[in-house]
């Protein structure tokens, strides 16, 4: 155990002395984060917050108190960075805009919506339900809008002005796809629901005085920074894998094997070294972006957990690549290819929601996709509970890849006997 630790520590030291490795592990992801941040305008505003500006249109056919309030909420200043809200009176035209991807979501409030809710025996007919019409190719953005809407609807429920306009019905009625709401959106919605309300008020208004709104700002860096860090985490794990083969060809592995150290300790040490280096890289990048860009990564414990899980999963991939390769250079070139492919598939550059469905499915084999899910969910205020799926996925990925690699290493016989 001690020797495993010492070998890992030695590898960490060596990695952090390798200038070329440092450029890839730390400098490149950092510069790319800045570069992509500049492109997306993250650094142009003074308050260091980026705008998401999801285009939505509200068709308010209700023109009564609830409908008007909903328009007010969605047009409020607090959501200005998040949403770009326009209003219209033409439902058909609004749906068309969504179909053409001009607009992400159309919210159509039917005529008589308020009256129906306030009436004693409110009708559950579709006729009186808000229509949430989203473009399926933008699940994240749609999810954010939907959860704001959910928040609003929940408030309506709380007010006991009606109990029938639940999202569940919207889903049943087929107007919202359940996949539409992803973790990011839910977290924002959760924040809204938690916004304290004054229960004496008869009409629904958002309490705008709380500073909670601050966390609702969507910082583009919260996508970019983890995306880049995860991309170059894949570099680090293949660098570590390469060092296993380099120790073999450089004779130090042989030398280790004639010291009173057993081969499990040695291999364990090498794996631990990869893990340590990857974790150090991630924490340094997280620390640097926090200090320099005031980027809010979110719940600390959550960050630690998702980093460890991501590095664990990624280390599995590093080992698998190593187990297949013959030379250190092969690990390097295969590793670089995998790094790029995983980064693209896993959403480091473009949100996966713009990708074909099969790519989205395939992206589940990358640690990037899962970890990015976890990071964004934390950045938008999520807690450890919201990490359950990504954590489980990454751990499972790591364990499976470790077992497969161990089997392959065993067959390949690191030492010729």
């Amino acid at each position: 155990m001690l020797k495993t630790f010492l070998i890992g520590l030695k590898d960490l030291k060596i990695a952090f002395r390798d200038r070329a490795a440092l450029i890839f592990m730390l400098l490149t992801p950092f510069l790319l984060t800045i570069g992509m941040g500049l492109v997306t305008g993250r650094f142009s505003s003074n308050d260091n917050s980026g705008a998401l500006n999801i285009p939505i249109v509200i068709v308010n056919l209700d023109n009564d108190s609830l409908g008007n309030t909903l328009v007010e909420v969605f047009s409020s200043e607090e959501l200005a960075d998040l949403l770009e809200t326009t209003t219209s009176q033409d439902a058909e035209a609004a749906r068309l805009l969504v179909n053409e991807d001009e607009i992400t979501v159309a919210i159509i409030i039917p005529e008589g919506f308020t009256q129906n809710i306030f009436s004693a025996n409110a009708s559950q007919s579709e006729e009186y339900q808000i229509e949430f019409y989203a473009n399926p190719s933008r699940p994240t953005s749609a999810g954010i809008v939907k959860t704001i809407l959910d928040g609003f609807m929940a408030r309506v429920d709380e007010m006991r002005v009606g109990g029938i306009t639940s999202v569940a019905q919207l889903i049943i009625s087929g107007r919202i796809s359940p996949e539409g709401a992803n973790a990011v959106g839910e977290e924002i919605g959760a924040r809204f629901e938690n916004t304290p309300t004054d229960s004496d008020e008869t009409l629904i208004t958002l309490n705008t005085s709380t500073n909670q709104t601050q966390t609702n700002e969507v910082d583009m860096l919260a996508y970019i920074a983890p995306g880049m860090a995860l991309m170059f985490l894949m570099y680090t794990v293949s660098y570590g894998g390469r060092s296993i083969l380099a120790e073999k060809s450089g004779g130090t592995l042989t030398r280790l094997l004639v010291t009173p150290t057993n081969s499990m300790q040695i291999l364990g040490g090498k794996v631990f070294g990869i893990f340590l280096t990857g974790a150090a890289q991630m924490f340094i990048l997280i620390g640097a972006t926090t200090l320099l860009f005031q980027l809010q990564w979110g719940d600390m414990l959550g960050i630690v957990l998702i980093v460890f899980a991501a590095v664990f999963g990624a280390t599995g991939w590093g080992l698998l690549i190593t187990a297949f390769a013959r030379t250190p250079n092969q690990v390097g070139s295969v590793g670089s290819a995998v790094m790029l492919i995983f980064a693209i598939m896993g959403g480091s550059f473009l949100s996966t929601e713009n990708m074909p469905a099969f790519v989205q499915t395939l992206s589940k084999i990358t640690p990037n996709a899962w970890a990015l899910d976890g990071f964004t969910s934390l950045a938008f205020g999520g807690n450890i509970a919201s990490l359950t799926t990504p954590l489980l996925a990454l751990l499972t990925m790591g364990i499976v890849l470790f077992l497969v690699s161990a089997f392959l290493f065993g067959r390949k016989n690191l030492v010729q006997k």
Binding site: K3, L6, K10, K13, I14, R17, D18, G250, G251, T252, T254, R255, L256, L257, V258, T259, P260, T261, N262, V415, Q416, K417
Partner: protein, 314 residues
């Protein structure tokens, strides 16, 4: 003196190829034992089995009471290994390398750091302790490579061709280090293809060729096998082909053997001065120019030649 190493019929096959063909020898506590043999003789393979890296195909070796087959961990604790090829972390300093390898030998704390300082002193690198190994010359790297093998004060030190490919000065330093270590009581198994090193260092020598130990003993015992002879070495020009001369040389009275090795003709005889005139005459008859002539006392080179008909260095 007690045997610290007993090698019993050690065999190693690489697939169909038998690299070591049933080697047996003993090493006594306190001696330097050399395995002398040309490249490919099986020296590294033998050391690899003795140091528990490779499992012997058959046979066994007992080191400090532990069988390499049954108790490799016991063997590893008792031995130090200086591999033929450098095995160091180039991005770590000399000191960091020694510390790391010391930890692998279960050293820690004060005893580790004081031992590291001692070894640095011993290999003459105290001044350079904080420099990365990659900035070192070949000779300095070799010295660190040796230092790693000394850290845990092994009972038996394996040194596999530790002077290959370095300048004469570093080579001198290494040979002196080996002698110092031995004076301090360390038992050494030293492999080399340089006859001079084996002659200078060893109490006893085993001559290995094609995986077989063809002779073993002190230098005196081995040279006696060649008989009370001298060797006449004639240096000839690059473009000469003296092989045709050999049969006529062998006809000379008192010439026991004659061979061509590169630009040299070697003539083995009980008395060099008695045959010298005739040898030179035969060469002149053939028109072969002789640049210089040496007379050598019997040495391990001659033993190897005698036993195999080939030179140690091709």
């Amino acid at each position: 003196m007690a045997n610290i190493l007993e090698v019993q019929n050690l065999v190693k096959n690489y697939g169909d190829f038998q690299a070591v063909k049933g080697v047996s020898f003993n090493i006594q506590e306190g001696e330097i034992f050399s395995l002398l043999g040309p490249n490919g003789a099986g020296k590294t393979t033998t050391i690899s089995m003795l140091s528990t890296l490779y499992e012997p195909t058959s046979g066994d070796a007992i080191i400090a009471g532990h069988s390499v087959k049954k108790n490799p961990m016991g063997v590893r604790n008792a031995i130090g290994v200086v591999p033929q090829d450098l095995a160091l972390y180039e991005d770590l300093t000399a000191k960091e390398n020694l510390i790391f390898w010391g930890q692998m030998y279960n050293l820690s704390g004060k005893s580790l750091s004081s031992r590291v300082d001692e070894v640095l002193e011993q290999i003459g690198l105290t001044d350079k302790a904080k420099n990365k190994v990659k900035t070192f010359s070949g000779g300095m790297k070799r010295r660190v490579n040796i230092g790693v093998g000394l850290l845990h004060k092994p009972q038996l030190l394996f040194m596999d061709e530790p002077t290959v490919g370095i300048d004469p000065q570093s080579r001198r330093a290494i040979l002196d280090t080996v002698k110092d270590l031995n004076k301090q009581g360390m038992t050494v198994l030293y492999t080399t293809h340089y006859m001079e090193e084996a002659e200078e260092l060893s109490n006893r020598v085993g001559i290995i060729d094609h995986g077989e130990l063809i002779a073993i003993g002190t230098q005196k015992e081995l040279t006696k096998q060649v008989g009370e002879t001298e060797t006449l070495i004639l240096h000839v020009g690059e473009n000469e082909d003296p092989s045709a001369l050999i049969p006529s040389l062998k006809e000379i009275k008192n010439v026991l053997d004659a061979n061509v090795i590169g630009n040299e003709i070697s003539v083995v005889t009980p008395s060099a001065k008695d045959v010298l005139a005739s040898v030179v005459t035969k060469a002149n008859e053939r028109g072969i120019k002789i640049y210089s002539i040496d007379i050598r006392e019997p040495n391990l080179e001659a033993v190897f030649l005698h036993l195999t008909g080939r030179a140690l260095r091709d």
